[in-house]
Subunit: 334 residues, 2 copies
Amino acid sequence: MTFKRMQLFVLSLTFTVALGGLAVAQSILPLSSWKEGKTKQSIIEFVADVTKNGSPSFVPPAERIAVFDNDGTLWPEQPMYFQLFFAIDRLIKLAPQHPEWKNKEPFASVLKGDLKAALAGGKKSMFEILKATHAGMTEAEFEVLVKSWITTAKHPTTKRLYKDMIYQPMLELLTYLRANNFKTFIVSGGGVEFMRAWAEEVYGIPPEQVVGSSIKTEFEIINEKPVLMRLPEPNFITDKKGKVISINLHIGRRPIAAFGNSDGDLQMLQWTTAGTGRRFALYVHHTDNEREWAYDRMSSVGHLDKGLDEAQAKGWTIADMKKDWKIIYPHELK
Amino acid sequence: MTFKRMQLFVLSLTFTVALGGLAVAQSILPLSSWKEGKTKQSIIEFVADVTKNGSPSFVPPAERIAVFDNDGTLWPEQPMYFQLFFAIDRLIKLAPQHPEWKNKEPFASVLKGDLKAALAGGKKSMFEILKATHAGMTEAEFEVLVKSWITTAKHPTTKRLYKDMIYQPMLELLTYLRANNFKTFIVSGGGVEFMRAWAEEVYGIPPEQVVGSSIKTEFEIINEKPVLMRLPEPNFITDKKGKVISINLHIGRRPIAAFGNSDGDLQMLQWTTAGTGRRFALYVHHTDNEREWAYDRMSSVGHLDKGLDEAQAKGWTIADMKKDWKIIYPHELK
């Protein structure tokens, strides 16, 4: 190797190292869709505190568990939960095989396009719709159905694919935490298999880090092949206290950071912040009626009342979508 | 930088790269407690097939899920499940607070030291013992109890700490798989919280990768602090078909490799090998009455009958402890 070539070699090495440093810096510093201010600062300070070697708040990488609610926290939940749109799309597709639905609620109202009437029966109606659309097939078949829906179905208001309606600032937050050796989990009231079908592609969260509500399944051998059949019976609802129970059962370690948007996430935030050492809790507050939806204490979907009081009392971070987020969705990126 | 210094710099870089390569080679080649032969070869060939870029059997790292039974697969289960020793040790400790146990089975027999009589009632007796020893405290309190037991309690036959009685060849297998970017999970009929208290230290498997049987828990706020209380009610038993149901619920992705030792693992091995692409299943066969225990078709603990037939018929790997393992426990390492 001549001196000249060696010089180039060293230069290129230095350049690579520098670029490597830059890549890290870029993924650590940014949160570029978050406006400068108290909210963004509280996130950055927390991450700095728990990751800096020698800091009194240092947390070893294995214990850097962050849990995220999904509906209303990572993507919208208006005018109703997106999984319910999936159920209704599927109900309409199945209707020709179920002539009896024309005279049976809540199906009759769904087929007439009157969702308000269909859901008037509350949780019971919702569960009837879920039973008819989410059970009676194998896990593998269900996955195919969801994957097909998520790549084609569009939101009634925005006319965009649901999977393109994820919150860009939250996506950057997931990336930022992972770049700092956090393990990011979803802990949501949504169906666990529904979310797993696209969470890895959309959020970079692998199936084993998705925790959600479930129905019972049954192991059977059909034509010498083992299958898991989805049964029309609830197994567990990962909401409110159920979020903490699920975190304990699935993760087995108390998170050090939790992110939610409703009273359904309150116990998860309480559980997370009650641990020893440095902790972080953030509520996404839906305040932007122009770019998204504005709702909190009076809304049935994403009801945020007690949680808002407790967040203010305890000094948890409240992300005001209108004030704290430069953009909402990835398509707004320039 | 002078030419000399630059030369040294380049040399040191090259050296680091070479050392890096060596470190990988060292952790990939060994399985040093496995004797050379068909069994060891089948493991190495499988790993080579799924990890070699461009191989028709290549599996991306994210999908390299390996599941391990615990009792009888990673550590012994004779003369009875180690968790039952924990339960009995605890029962004896609690006895002074429960004078009524003296006249109530299965407690009376346990306290008399007659375990055979105590367990004569089968699962019902076992569950009575578990209820009395595994519930009625918070998750945090239970963890402290298990951690204290696992660092002090000794096995009646070997007089060694239970946590030192793990199978060295299986430990090397876990390390080998992880060095090849596998994610290793425990999927065991044992209690999930019992195993999590020591699995990370002993096997290098973090809590979120431990799947096991569970009892119900309840979220409560006591003195303004949220706690999870352990209730004397079963939640789910991760055995037989339940292993597949738990894999689906907790991991959400079909494993490509599964390791077990009894008929209780059969469905897990069936489920794993029924996936498309290259798959691997291994049964640990307890054949060594001198160094460990020898049992299979006639044993109630670790009953291996149908599984042995199916393994032979389907060409799964059978690890014969006597013939395939140079040593059993870590203390035999020279």
